[in-house]
Symmetry: C3
Subunit: 347 residues, 3 copies
């Protein structure tokens, strides 16, 4: 695959500075681009790499153009433009429509003739696979699953009975959608399993990372709206709803019956409690605990970064003595006749 | 499936208020129940939904009965009664006994004639599968695995050599039992692998969520006792023992050689250290660190919930200056002649 | 398998005290060793078990030898010596070279004749499998994967296109290497997928635990150097580099483009931010957040262990009132004419 800079400029609406005949064959980083590579500059942190770049051309904003020693494509959103050019240069692997002879199809399964069912896949009863969908090797679609058009299950994705996947969604290996939610009723010292009768519904353009799990609803459905992006090893409990365009980084867990708004950005390794509601446009830093509802857009955090261990032990000791310190301050206030503003109940 | 309210009242020992001939066909929520649906009220938080419910009948306690506008099943434990009725209405999918032609059986494997081996499953040498067990598609049972009666591996469960699964246990897709524990001995700057020769033993009535991992023991076994329920993406290290009836929510990790008592409830996304012991009846809130043994039953926490980021930065700064604040208080105490109660070693 | 103590002493360079003809058949713990078992003492915590041990022989240091009531192998590093003896007694399961008839090989795949391809494995186009490699049942190697000599994929490992695995590495069930990194460019309220064109490269002697995921690089590669050991359910983002001999415990997540040094030891359930750098020889306690670069070797922590919940609520309340306490101290200082050392901007 090779395309000229001139073609790229026209197709993606960029201002071209440099030779329109320059051939672009691949993408590269500013620092280590190979011959024929296109790089991009979006994060100002990497601006210093511009002058020494080995790229054949760079996608950047007008503001950065002056410092660029090579051909360039100038545009307003270099990262998105880079992404679209990279898609052109690196399309997903092509596939032949049809069902691999080693795949197992159950009665009632309906596979669009333009779809591909990979090696050793299992398609359960009455499952439906839409046009141009790619069901990678070792995928398991249990009974009644519905796969939209142009969906891509890379490999070894497991979809529980009744799962619905919207058009163009991409699911990575190890994903499990539609396992039972975690519901057990206590009764005389043991647990009674609560059947989980809802399903998982994914909207269109959703991406789900490797080994991420989304449980089916207890009674109603677990719903992931359009254009949601989940990273690897994310856990989504039953009855959760995640609003459109929200992105959630790896290792974050979301307890059951919680609603997350639209356009949120949740960092990695967060813990999100159950039965709460998070507003639209909420951003949370990684390794934070969201135990209560968040009602206003904004940036939230409870990340406590590491210290050198000796310093941390002192901080921890002070933290544990904080009540004692407050008592000492109160005594000083009493001795000096200063009235404390501390609210009652303070310890 | 449809059953009359009268039958349900008799079978589950409830007091029926309303028409015993009312047909129940499904379960539903108080707020959105469809025709013929049975709902339940257990959490007082949802009591306000009772008056407007669209359910045909509601399972609830006598205390809540007065406010219920529909037929009802009155009992002491509505959630457990609801669970049992939901099980009746939603039995696990039926299966035909036998081995799917695409499954691969190794020499010495013994499959009870009433069991089902799903499509593309692999059964290793000398593995045993008990009566009425369901080994879902794509499951892998390595050599010597033993599966009890009525066990259900939903799909794509992997059991390492020698794993033992007790009767009626349910394992969800992506579960890995019996991978090697994390054991390496340092030697001159590199690591020597320590063979992990124990196995994983699950008791009866255990449930293990999607993509959860339980490692085999280093020398002795990793043991999960009866009626333990593990959510998705939980990690259980080698040599761990989890006591009967304990439940652990998603994304929690348990380091090696730790013992957790009976009837514990561990929240999601907790980190539990190695070589410690947690007493019976311990409850831990989500996103807490259990670094040391807990010797008494009770409720424990180290969850720090998010704040708006600017407020959090101030709190964090104060936390880091806590030693300085203590020093200032000491100076004030000295100046005012007040003797500090702070213990020596305070900083 | 059985070997005499005399043979073990010679082969592993230990001083033998006791009968060289003693037969060792298995390993065991000091406390519960069965007949013919060899135990070891490395952790002083278990020294009290020595006098009552049921082991036939114990591996230990000269310093501990006096208290040992049985035969013993005395050496400098008992844990590593134990590990090597345990390897001798418990070799990985033997396998027959060849391709299982149920496996699916794609055109261009090159399998060394001494390698084993297990049942129901899928080998993609142009994939290469080296000498004596074991590709366990249900493994999926997508196009162009390269597997070194003596590699062992226990079962159900998924390797994305182009993944490279170095010699002698061991990958446990559920591992996913080479899924797409988490890269999306924002554009007018939606997300544009950024193609992930790098691959994952594992060095030699790497071990990767069950259900761990390592994403392919965005442009360049994600690199795991020699002798790195990753536990279960670890997430490694795109473009990450992990230095040789580093070990990372379970449930830890590493965000994209971060570099971790050599010989680091990262505890379980940590969260490591993106685009940072961690020096060689850094040790981090479990459940810590590493949000910023660490430039010096040493021990780091931000673990806050649980307290009884009522005590924790008080600590949490004090934490949230820390700004108020500082203000009260300032007022006391002003009243008493003591000049604060607190830096400006303090709140």
């Amino acid at each position: 695959m090779s395309v000229s800079l001139g073609e790229l400029a026209v197709r993606f609406g960029c201002e071209l500075r440099g030779d329109p005949g320059t051939r672009i064959e691949r993408v590269g980083t500013l620092a280590h681009a190979q011959a024929g590579a296109l790089a991009f500059l979006a994060n100002p942190k990497y601006r210093s790499q511009l002058s020494g770049t080995t790229a054949a051309a760079v996608v950047l904003t007008a503001a950065a153009a002056e410092a660029c020693p090579t051909a360039m494509l100038v545009c307003e959103n270099p990262y998105a433009t880079y992404a679209r050019i990279a898609q052109l240069l690196n399309p997903p692997p092509a596939f032949e429509p049809g069902v691999h002879p080693s795949a197992v199809l159950s009665p009632g399964a309906r596979i669009d003739p333009s779809a591909c069912i990979g090696a050793l896949a299992f398609i359960g009863e009455d499952a439906q696979v839409g046009a141009r969908a790619f069901i990678g090797p070792h995928s398991v679609l249990l009974a009644g699953v519905r796969i939209g058009e142009d969906v891509r299950l890379v490999a070894r994705v497991t979809l529980g009975a009744g799962t619905v996947v919207g058009a163009r969604s991409v699911l990575h290996p190890g994903v499990v959608l539609g396992a039972d939610g975690f519901g057990f009723a206590p009764e005389r010292g043991t647990w009674v399993k609560v059947p989980q009768v809802g399903v998982v519904r994914l909207g269109a353009d959703v991406e789900v990372g490797a080994n991420t799990t989304i449980d089916r609803g207890a009674i109603e459905d677990t719903v992931i709206e359009d254009d949601v992006k989940l990273d690897n090893l994310v856990q989504v409990g039953h009855n959760v709803r995640i609003g459109a365009h929200t992105v959630i980084a790896g290792c974050t867990g979301i307890s059951g019956s919680t609603t997350i708004g639209r356009r949120c950005m949740i960092g990695g390794a967060c813990g999100i409690g159950g039965h709460i509601s998070i507003a639209d446009d909420v951003v949370v830093t990684g390794f934070s605990a969201i135990a209560n509802s968040i009602t206003k857009p904004g940036l939230y955090s409870s990340t406590l970064p590491v210290e050198e261990a000796r310093a941390w032990r002192r901080l921890q000791a002070n933290f544990k003595r904080s009540g004692l310190l407050a008592a000492r301050v109160r005594r000083l206030e009493q001795a000096s006749g200063i009235k404390s503003e501390q609210e009652p109940g303070d310890e």
